[in-house]
Symmetry: C2
Subunit: 240 residues, 2 copies
Amino acid sequence: MHRIKVRVVEDALDANNTIARANREDLDRAGVTAINLMSAPGAGKTALLERVLGDLGDVRVAVLEGDVEGSLDAERLASLHIPVVQLNTAAGFGGECHLDANMVRSALPALPLEEIDLLVIENVGNLVCPAEFRVGEHARAMVCSVAEGEDKQLKYPLMFRACELAVVNKIDLLPHVDVDLERLLANLQAAHPGIEHILTSARTGEGCAGLREWLLGKVARSRAGERADPRADDLAGARV
Amino acid sequence: MHRIKVRVVEDALDANNTIARANREDLDRAGVTAINLMSAPGAGKTALLERVLGDLGDVRVAVLEGDVEGSLDAERLASLHIPVVQLNTAAGFGGECHLDANMVRSALPALPLEEIDLLVIENVGNLVCPAEFRVGEHARAMVCSVAEGEDKQLKYPLMFRACELAVVNKIDLLPHVDVDLERLLANLQAAHPGIEHILTSARTGEGCAGLREWLLGKVARSRAGERADPRADDLAGARV
């Protein structure tokens, strides 16, 4: 008699994660590397994408733009002549404060997956909930602005723990804000030991090449058949 | 025979609003005016409170400090020698992204309501969900930083619609950011026609007297028995 071992995988009961896995399978099948880009409102995600996405060599990119309302950022990015799909979360009363896997799934048919290599998912501006919902991405990156102060890493730690890259943006403002960059970077390491960071100014362009290289590196690793950051699969307990 | 008219008040079924009303009754009974102060992360709520709460004349103030984790802001405000109660929302996986009425209710017994006139509830930094949850406040105010850009009013409209005051902070950064203040203020009026605004720099102190006057005006109106902003009661559809 065989002993039957029943393993209850709680994660499998999580509808969001189930859909995130389906998204990931579709992306992998199409050879698309997906990056979930998050930040607080106004940290500069769109401005950074404007700086880097127009110049990715042979890497073909599209953007899935998440906003509560409107299509301002999608319009800005469309000027780069890349496919941009707008996803609005305002169906509820005040709008959802994050993208979830099902929202992203609803947008996949509108994206030319067979014709792109990289999909940047620009999440809703929020330092809390977006970090809790996997959407099928291969890696997560976040942008924090030095204008937000040096303590956000300690107050919203999950966002920093959930990401493998922190882009520290608006460094051109450092002379004009009471922020100690060393302390900010120390708080970043305290929140997520070993996290990569890149210093940028989307306004002046400084450091933006580093973000471009990071994105290209992600695509190159996927092309080489390297497994995506396992942490992108291991965010236990993500909400439905 | 009397005709019985049954009116189903959907709002009454909303547990959050029921608790918010109970909070409001307790606050009114104690003669306390409560302000729900909201913003994106790093817009400067705490820095503004540091500027204004130390100098309110005979108005006695306490702060209820909402954060996902930690007590950094509460420690900053405690130096003003006012009662500060910290409320952390991190009980869940990644922490709640807002305060709700029940969280505030859990903190009321820790506050010296009989000994204060003004309670400032500093919400979690987030431009979406905090606007959807009444907590029993008499008025809602929000802070936006010019460093966040000029379009947040269009992208997160509920927050601006839900508040009767927008504090436009970090105006000392205006020479250093690509933001058109006139357009920002126009977007603010587009999101919420007639909304009051105050221009401030918590860093230099400029304009902070306006916020102090606004807070004192709210307390004076409550003392005069004037009804609070009816809009504080009329946020239909708030989530549970």
